[in-house]
């Protein structure tokens, strides 16, 4: 009724290729951005911001990264958690060596270190394919995780062996460290995520993204059409690890505020992010956000939902039931909608277009 494209003529090539071709979509994205930038910091509680919004944003960044690799280029990686760790440690080293430089610069720059590591571990992707590659990327996961523990230089020889996030300010306001308010951390993180999402969107809709998708659909055919596999696959690994690295740095500095790497960047994290990508929708940027939101909200919902169902909060039983429920939900969602939440979103939009008529 109100979501119609009738009368919206595309008179130029640019308008035809626009990512948001409908006026309603553009209004919608503006409203969403306004709510996220203004509404949430003003009205949402600190609890909501720090347990739902910040994790969602961090995970969506990592999920976008993995989606570039798995969803767009068709290379399965189980090393995302380790690449996030590389970003976190790079950021930590950089900000201790150059404390004067703004922390946001270092959070984004640490992605480049992660990208370099990602390219090295992406090299086998030329010879190895499919699940063989997935297992090969586990080499990255375990090797890097080992480095995080065994190379004390990485954590500045701290007694705790963990990253200790120092106080850093932006315009005089603390954004990292113990004094930073959730609102400040949230706004910084949101700006980074919006900027990088815009960049990723341009990347996947352009020539680079198309060559990725050609490689995904059939790499030999893509090669015959003149796409050079080596640069294309390695670029996918680099971009993917870049996003993962920024996500890892943001996770340590803007969310956790320091912590042990083995807990934060272990193999389960890699699987969790792969799961976000799949439940959100392979090859869909908006799906990455859906998947990340789903996974970030789920623990909170279970924490408050289980007592309502009569299971005592805390204790081992609740934890076991959480495992059961999460596992069941994974299977349930895969059975109901293997193409992910992004497909549901598309179906919803299609329905809205013809609403209130059935077809």
């Amino acid at each position: 009724m109100f979501y119609r494209e009738a009368g919206q003529y595309k008179t130029s090539y640019a308008a035809d290729m626009a990512i948001f071709p409908l006026l309603q979509d553009r209004i919608g994205i503006a409203v969403i951005l306004a709510v996220l930038f203004v509404g949430v910091p003003l009205f949402a509680s600190e609890f909501l911001i720090s347990t739902v919004m910040i994790p969602t944003l961090v995970f969506s960044l990592a999920a976008i990264g993995l989606n570039v690799l798995t969803g767009y280029t068709g290379l399965i990686s189980l090393g995302t958690g380790a690449f996030m760790g590389v970003g976190a440690y790079a950021c930590y080293k950089l900000t201790t060596y150059f404390p004067g430089v703004n922390i946001i610069v270092w959070i984004v720059a640490s992605g480049f270190f992660s990208a370099a590591v990602g390219v090295v571990f992406g090299l086998p992707s030329l010879r190895i394919k499919g699940f063989y590659l997935a297992v090969a990327t586990l080499a990255a996961q375990f090797f890097l995780q080992w480095c995080f523990v065994r190379v004390p230089w990485l954590y500045n020889y701290n007694a705790s062996g963990a990253i200790e996030v120092p106080l850093r300010t932006l315009f005089g306001l603390p954004v990292t460290g113990p004094n930073a308010t959730p609102e400040a951390r949230y706004l910084v993180l949101l700006s980074i995520v919006v900027g990088l999402t815009w960049f990723a969107s341009n990347l996947v809709h352009g020539r680079v993204g198309r060559s990725w998708m050609a490689v995904r659909d059939m790499d030999i055919a893509a090669e015959l059409m003149g796409i050079r596999l080596l640069p294309t696959k390695l670029l996918a690994f680099a971009v993917s690890s870049f996003y993962a690295g920024v996500a890892g740095a943001a996770m340590m500095f803007l969310w956790y505020g320091g912590g042990e790497a083995n807990d934060a960047f272990n193999i389960n994290q890699s699987f969790l992010i792969l799961f976000m990508v799949i439940i959100g929708g392979l090859g869909s940027l908006i799906g990455s956000f859906f998947g990340a939101a789903f996974i970030s909200i789920l623990p909170t919902v279970l924490k408050f939902g289980l007592p309502a169902m009569g299971v005592p909060l805390g204790g081992a039983t609740a934890e076991h039931i959480t495992y059961l429920v999460v596992g069941g939900l994974i299977i349930f969602f895969l059975v109901v909608e293997p193409h992910g939440l992004a497909r549901l979103w598309q179906i919803g939009k299609q329905k809205l277009r013809i609403w209130p008529f059935p077809y």
Binding site: V135, F143, Y323, V335
Partner: protein, 359 residues
């Protein structure tokens, strides 16, 4: 003789050939340099490349002990990999849950015994539980997800993993348990062998593990080669469609295959459990089976066994002789690098089917 006639191409080395030549040259150079005294003791190259071998020659009993321990853990890796290969061949599912099935099976056995069920009856009941699990997986996961992309099925097994962890801990409790090895007539203690100027100690349980594994593999080979169901299984592994068209029920085959994998998991679980406690911490050993798989090939039973032995021995020798040089703990990733080294020369694993790609 016409000019167009095909001529013998000149001898040329491929890229991998050159790599091998370079490797051989490097080794020869090292040996010469070390023998001629160019690289003295304490030189970094000596500590890295020569000294470990000197240690091996100086203390052959330690070497034999290390190799034996490597072989034993290799057998157990091979058993996990075997369950995996069975499922991958018959249903094309990359079964991430195999490691958890090992723990779940062992936990069921021990948990039932703790509840007062006699050991042998508990064994039978545990086999029954694995059958129920196989039916459940087929009915609720495989059947609804038939014909979905591989990665979706892989993710579904990730869901199964969570369900099994939750279920196992909910029913039997999360604390580590002792394997009931005495009640199952498994031997205890060690045999001391005097050889090569020292003692080599062989755990009886390890010998039993090797014997039982060999017996089970022989039984499986017989089952696959000489029974009606075995033939059907091989037909399904060859081609789902062709098997369907000659009247083989895929659903039935999947139940049988998952059940077989479950029994293999139970045996593996008993063996692993007898060496350490039974708890979900054991599931990390499942991650050790993955490099075995890519080394041996996803579809090859002999590959799983040979791969398991290579990984087991390589890992133990690496950890024992080279581990201290870099601070130890390299077991977590060494296996992956061994497997990667093999994969560079054979991308489909040692015994995997040659991947033929057509446009």
């Amino acid at each position: 003789m016409s000019a167009t006639e095909a001529r013998e191409p000149p001898m040329r080395l491929t890229a991998t050939g050159w790599t091998l030549v370079a490797l051989a040259a490097a080794v020869a150079l090292l040996v010469v340099a070390s023998l001629s005294g160019l690289i003295a003791k304490g030189h970094p190259l000596d500590t890295l490349f020569v000294d470990p071998f000197r240690q091996m020659v100086d203390a052959p009993d330690l070497l034999v002990q290390t190799i034996w321990e490597g072989l034993v853990s290799g057998v157990l890796y091979a058993l996990i990999a075997l369950g995996f290969v069975l499922i991958f061949k018959a249903s094309g599912v990359f079964n991430f849950a195999q490691g958890i099935m090992v723990v779940f099976a062992a936990l069921t056995l021990v948990g039932l015994h703790e509840m007062g069920v006699p050991a042998l009856l508990a064994l039978v009941l545990a086999v029954g539980v694995m059958f129920v699990l196989a039916v459940g997986v087929e009915r609720f996961v495989l059947r609804p997800l038939v014909n979905q992309p591989d990665i979706i099925l892989f993710m579904a097994t990730f869901g199964i993993t969570y369900v099994l962890i939750g279920l196992g801990e909910l029913v039997f409790g999360g604390n580590p348990k002792q394997m009931i090895d005495e009640q199952l007539f498994l031997p205890k203690g060690a045999i001391e062998l005097k050889m090569l100027g020292g003692f080599v100690s062989l755990q009886k349980i390890d010998i039993a593990a090797a014997v039982i594994a060999a017996a089970m593999i022989a039984a499986l080979a017989f089952f696959f080669q000489h029974t009606r169901i075995g033939r059907a299984l091989r037909a399904v592994a060859d081609s789902h469609k062709a098997a369907l068209s000659v009247g083989i029920s895929l659903n039935q085959i999947w139940v049988i295959v998952w059940f077989t994998a479950g029994v293999v998991a139970l045996v593996t679980g008993i063996m692993w459990g007898a060496r350490s406690d039974v708890s979900f911490a054991l599931s990390t050993i499942a991650l050790k089976a993955l490099p075995v798989l890519i080394l041996g090939g996803f579809t090859s039973v002999p590959g799983a066994i040979v791969g398991g032995l290579i990984i087991g021995v390589g890992e133990k020798i690496g950890e024992f002789y080279w581990g201290p040089l870099v601070g130890g703990g390299i077991e977590s990733w060494l296996a992956y690098f061994i497997a990667l080294a093999f994969l560079l020369f054979r991308p489909q694993g040692l015994f995997g089917e040659k991947i033929i790609e057509r446009i």
